[in-house]
Symmetry: C2
Subunit: 158 residues, 2 copies
Amino acid sequence: MGGRVFFEDLEAGAKERFGRYEVTRDEVVEFAGKYDPHPFHLSDEEAAKTHFGRISASGWHTCSMMMAMFVEHLQERQEASIGGVGIDELRWLKPVHPGDVLSLETEIVAKRRSRSKPGIGSVWTRMVTYNQNGEAVLSMTAIGLFALRDPDAPVDEA
Amino acid sequence: MGGRVFFEDLEAGAKERFGRYEVTRDEVVEFAGKYDPHPFHLSDEEAAKTHFGRISASGWHTCSMMMAMFVEHLQERQEASIGGVGIDELRWLKPVHPGDVLSLETEIVAKRRSRSKPGIGSVWTRMVTYNQNGEAVLSMTAIGLFALRDPDAPVDEA
């Protein structure tokens, strides 16, 4: 096909599996120190006192690592992503530890063209992040905005 | 009252307003470069071509800045926060730009003690992040876990 991927090219039901993100201790501690300084995200000693057992990434850090994999994929495919509306049903399913290697599975579950801004459409994507053992660690449904290739097409046909 | 704030001390309906986070251009660009390198998060020139108009923070960065204010507050109050389950209905309502000053409003909307782990309870908190103009920029309902002061109390009475 070649060329950019627009709203019209995204199909409900389409699944993809991609990404590789190595979680490092330095990054876990740096992120948590700035944004989520719970003691169990900062040291193994404190984490050992909790159900985490050993140091684990902030849940927001896991979201951010997922986003890094997702945006890399969007950019490789030259997808016309123009922003995010929000997230539904975000769940942190298992702790993420230094040494884990994350990957991502996405499935487009729905799409709808905007009626007020006909050059834009919303796409609902189910996103599940896995660790190297195939365990799901984070799941959510993201609502993203994509540009249309043909903004002038009648809305009912999109 | 003094002392730690446990699950038993959190009351549905309780509202709080707190926090101050100054958004800087360096931090916006650094976060986006690592985790969300859409061009409109990295340069004013690229953002001017989009509905953002000028450089704006990654939505995940805004979540992370919100979390920084929330954890600071939890720690000042010595709340017995032991982790997060997930987030419902996260919405990025308005762009966040360098120079903005964020604050946070929280309301406890529900709480429920765990039946399988009686020393732990879930707390649903509605969280709205505002900018310096009083505009809501991010809203969500967070599901957090808190420790009980008295894990041995009968579950039905909690």
